[in-house]
Structure formats: structure tokens, C-alpha cells
């Protein structure tokens, strides 16, 4: 108790003694507020105040960020993109973007099951609202490719309505905001080459190997 009395004994005023006692009482505020702040995302989600909830999940191809809007999964980002993706999502401050385990629970669980070999299909809604035109058609078709099979860029372009638009299809797949959930890794070159992948080619290879599409 020395700190509470030192102000007074040193001839301090009433105000100083009170200030010293109150500072001692509140000295743990940094740690306490960190704990309290870490619960805000889940509480806000429970209260329906979150527009985009995000969270991370550890997988064999690195940590993944998942972001879920009121409409569904709106973003899946690979480890090295996580920081930029959170900044990008948070940029529009009319959208309430918060880290929340609660708000991302379902998609994180399904991704864990997928990487654990216990799930072949994702049963989550995707937020298609920002995807338009040919890009949307290509990704919609890609979402239908089942686990364990692949299509060529030409085939996907064809299903989306224009088999000659292979390059446009490739661009759409490269810009896929929800990789893995919309399995753009299941689209390869006509000759059997892997083609490209937004999230590094070794990841595409690992995913196709995991699904048994690549030996």
C-alpha cells in the first residue's frame, strides 16, 4: 500500500492522493483492455452488427484468411495476402469489418474438414454480389467442378458461353476472390500443363495432388 499513502505523506494535496490511488487501481488497463477488445468481434457478431467477419485457419498450404459478408463467403486469401486483404476490406468504413471466430466458424470448420480429407464439397453460400458478367459465369461454372476432376480453360470458357474466350476465362480464374471454396485450381491447360494460379503454382499442385487429380 505504499503508493496510496506516499502522496499524502509527502505533503501532497487531496487530489494527488486520490490520483495516486486511482492510478494504482487502473494500472493494468493495457492488458485488461486487450482482453476485453478481443471479445468485441464475437459480441458484435452475436448482436448482428458485423457486415464482414474475418478469421484465419491453418492448413497444409499455409494460413488462410476467410471473410464472410452477410451474403456469404466473400474472400479467401493466402498467407502472404492476409494483411493487405484485411486493409482492403476495412477501407470502406460504412462496412463494419471485424475479426470474429463466431462469424467465420462454419467456413473455417469446412476448410479444416476439406484439408483433413473429410470433405469433398463446400456447403456454404458464396457472396457473388461483386462478381459480374463473364467473370461471374466462369466462376459459377468452376464452382460446379467436382472434387477429383479437372477441366481445361477452353472447357470452362465454353461452359460460360464462349469457348474462344480462354484468356478471359484465365483472367477471371486468376482474380477469383474465393479460391479453394470456388475451386479454380481444378482448371488446367489443354495439354495437361497446370497453367497459372493466383496463390502460387506449388499450392495448385498440392491441392490437385490432395484431390488425386495429379500423381
Amino acid at each position: 500500500m505504499p503508493s496510496r499513502n506516499s502522496g499524502r505523506r509527502a505533503g501532497g494535496t487531496a487530489a494527488e492522493a486520490v490520483a495516486v490511488a486511482l492510478r494504482a487501481m487502473t494500472s493494468d488497463a493495457a492488458a485488461g483492455s486487450r482482453r476485453a477488445a478481443s471479445r468485441i468481434g464475437d459480441a458484435a457478431d452475436a448482436a448482428g452488427l458485423v457486415d464482414i467477419a474475418y478469421g484465419t485457419v491453418d492448413t497444409p498450404i499455409g494460413a488462410l484468411l476467410v471473410a464472410v459478408s452477410r451474403r456469404g463467403v466473400t474472400r479467401v486469401a493466402f498467407e502472404e495476402e492476409i494483411g493487405d486483404t484485411v486493409i482492403e476490406l476495412s477501407d470502406d468504413t460504412t462496412m463494419r469489418v471485424l475479426r470474429s471466430a463466431r462469424g467465420t466458424d462454419e467456413v473455417r470448420r469446412q476448410l479444416e474438414e476439406y484439408f483433413g480429407g473429410r470433405r469433398h464439397e463446400f456447403d456454404v453460400s458464396v457472396d457473388w454480389s461483386e462478381l459480374h458478367g463473364f467473370t461471374r459465369k466462369v466462376l459459377r461454372e468452376t464452382a460446379r467442378i467436382p472434387f477429383g476432376s479437372v477441366l481445361t480453360y477452353r472447357e470452362v470458357a465454353g461452359r460460360a458461353g464462349n469457348s474462344r474466350a480462354m484468356r478471359a476465362a484465365g483472367n477471371a480464374l486468376h482474380a477469383n476472390p474465393v479460391p479453394i471454396v470456388v475451386p479454380c485450381h481444378r482448371v488446367i491447360r489443354t495439354g495437361g500443363g497446370l497453367g497459372g494460379y493466383g496463390g502460387r503454382l506449388d499450392r495448385k499442385e498440392a491441392l490437385l495432388r490432395m484431390e488425386g487429380s495429379l500423381l
Binding site: A29, A30, L98
Partner: protein, 198 residues
């Protein structure tokens, strides 16, 4: 006073459903607002203000600090998409927290305290942020909530009387009087309590 009027307006108004993530298409309400007037992302606002708010609440809400903290930032979050003036977000956060302290003291006065206290303590995984039996808290809790808040603002956060007035929603003279009365009572209680004597 102008700031405070704005604050009350913002805190009280619930954003309309559909304006935020409701209907068709992602809204871009901040697009037309100059960059400098846009508030930061909510999580940055939370990170920048959490410690000051919590420090204030430890002294003014004691064992209820965690509940008040959550209510403060959920209220802020509710209003956040409509927020335009970034000039003093800390003052805004503290004004909301101050109101939570006053509201929580009022609702606490209306309900039978002991039973609920036991229930909360038993169900909560974390220890209370301030021990309900702490002699300083025992002295603080006897103050009227406005005085308790004013004392916390003055002596924990070192706010000016103008800032305290903004947080309490009154004049600077009223803020001064609240600090003075609170301090006086606190000294009396501390002086009469053996726990504060050596």
C-alpha cells in the same frame, strides 16, 4: 457543445437496415466523403482507444468495467457507418463510455444487486477487473455516477475541464463542480476507512 450535440445524435441513431449490407449491391457510402474526413477502420479506432476507455471504466465502473466496455464499443459500432467527422474520436468514445457508466449505475440501483452479483461471478471465466471488495472501489461506488465519472476523467485520464464537460454533456462549471464534490466525498470516505491508513 457542438461536438457533444453531434455525438448524441450519432450514438442514438441506429443505422437503417438495408443501408448497411442489406439490399442489393455493396454500399459505398464513404466514397463521396473527402479522404481526410473519413473515420479509420473500426478495428483501428478500437485499438487506438481501448486502453483509455478501459482505464476510465476501471475507476468509474469497477467490477462492471468489462460489461461497460463491451456496451461502449457495440454502441460505437452501431453508429460507426454513419460517422463522418473524424476530428475527435477519443472524445466520442469517452462520451459513450461515460453514458454507459451512468446508465449502468441507474439500472443497478433498480435491481436487487446481491443475487445477480453472485450469478455473474459464478458464470464468468475471468476474475472481475476490479475486486468488488476493494476499499477504493467501495469508496468510489458511493459517489453519484456523474461525480465518479468526473473524478475518473480528471485523475485517471488527466482530461481538461472542457473535455470532461464534453464527456459528461454539460457546462465546464458543472464539470468542475462534479470533480470537486466527488473528490471531497472520496477523501472523506478514504479518510474514515482504516484500509487507507497505515
Amino acid at each position: 457543445m457542438a461536438l457533444h450535440t453531434l455525438l448524441l445524435e450519432v450514438v442514438d441513431v441506429e443505422p437503417r437496415r438495408g443501408e448497411v449490407g442489406g439490399g442489393g449491391g455493396r454500399p459505398h457510402g464513404t466514397r463521396g466523403v473527402p479522404e481526410s474526413l473519413r473515420p479509420p477502420p473500426f478495428e483501428d479506432f478500437l485499438e487506438a482507444n481501448r486502453t483509455a476507455v478501459y482505464r476510465f471504466l476501471l475507476a468509474s465502473a469497477g467490477p462492471d468495467a468489462d460489461d461497460c466496455f463491451q456496451e461502449t464499443f457495440l454502441s460505437a459500432l452501431r453508429a460507426y457507418p454513419r460517422l463522418r467527422d473524424e476530428s475527435n474520436l477519443r472524445a466520442w468514445a469517452l462520451a459513450i463510455a461515460t453514458r454507459k457508466v451512468i446508465d449502468s449505475a441507474r439500472s443497478r440501483a433498480r435491481r436487487p444487486v446481491p443475487v445477480e452479483d453472485v450469478g455473474e461471478a459464478a458464470s464468468s471465466a475471468d476474475p472481475a477487473p476490479v475486486d468488488a471488495n476493494d476499499p477504493l472501489w467501495q469508496a468510489l461506488r458511493t459517489l453519484p455516477p456523474r461525480q465518479r465519472a468526473a473524478v475518473a476523467h480528471r485523475f485517471v485520464l488527466d482530461l481538461s475541464y472542457a473535455e470532461i464537460a464534453a464527456a459528461l454533456g454539460g457546462s465546464e462549471e458543472a464539470a468542475r463542480a462534479n470533480v470537486y464534490q466527488g473528490l471531497k466525498k472520496l477523501r472523506e470516505r478514504m479518510g474514515n476507512d482504516d484500509a487507507f491508513e497505515e
